[in-house]
Symmetry: C2
Subunit: 142 residues, 2 copies
């Protein structure tokens, strides 16, 4: 656990959301001005393989990083890319059951699932982002 890795972990944990590598870079840079983006990526990779954080990919082009490692769901704003933890408990029983069915039918070894809710965050709603979207468009966006 080098000084850099420690600061990266701290800044991710206090970020409160699910930042990109670049957003973490900007925060860490304020404390370690000479750190490079390569070091950010290398340490995030390390932290992921140590199981201290998680890497997320979903309906957005960049990787996001998550300080929580317990199973939980996310909700993504399709307009601004904001990601928040979904404040609900995982739907364990019905979905684990589906995992078994899917594993059996596809011959995959299934060991998990990801559930992502999609919509528009309250700020984007205020800006009227969803106004012009028909139900079809909304479905498309998802």
């Amino acid at each position: 656990m080098t000084k850099q890795r420690k600061v990266i972990l701290e800044e991710l944990r206090k970020h409160g959301s699910h930042p990109t590598a670049d957003q973490i870079f900007e925060k860490v840079r304020k404390r370690l001005p000479r750190i490079s983006l390569g070091t950010i990526y290398r340490n995030l990779d390390l932290l992921v393989s140590e199981g201290l954080i998680r890497r997320l990919r979903g309906d957005y082009p960049q990787m996001r990083f998550d300080p929580r490692t317990d199973e939980h769901y996310h909700i993504t704003c399709l307009n601004c890319g904001r990601i928040e933890d979904a404040p609900v408990e995982p739907l364990h029983d019905p979905i684990k059951n589906l995992e078994n069915v899917v594993g059996h039918l596809t011959k995959y070894g299934v060991f998990g699932h990801k559930l992502e809710f999609v919509g528009f965050c309250s700020e984007c709603l205020k800006k009227g982002v969803a106004k012009g979207l028909s139900p079809e468009a909304k479905e498309m966006a998802s």
Copy 2:
């Protein structure tokens, strides 16, 4: 609907899985040798906004394209990136209910969800990919 767009749509529909733009490019190229990758991307974008196909992003670095536009789930192999349709019906009632709860608590306007099962496909299992993975590692991978 130009000739290029038509061929791209046809090749996606007969692909049988969830190809990347580049995989579609290779197929289309056999029929339209002078087509460019830019045209592939532009037409896939158009087809997505027309609601004729879907763009997927999940636990893999590249965009994937899906000829199906009805709501359904996917299962991804974390080793080789293969994506298949999950052969189960969407868990409508319990998850739509969760959408309402999440929307209420987060103030998001929620209009959909994505469920992705993760695991290893049968071919990767045969290769022994999962052998060395502890339950923790599997969880991490997810």
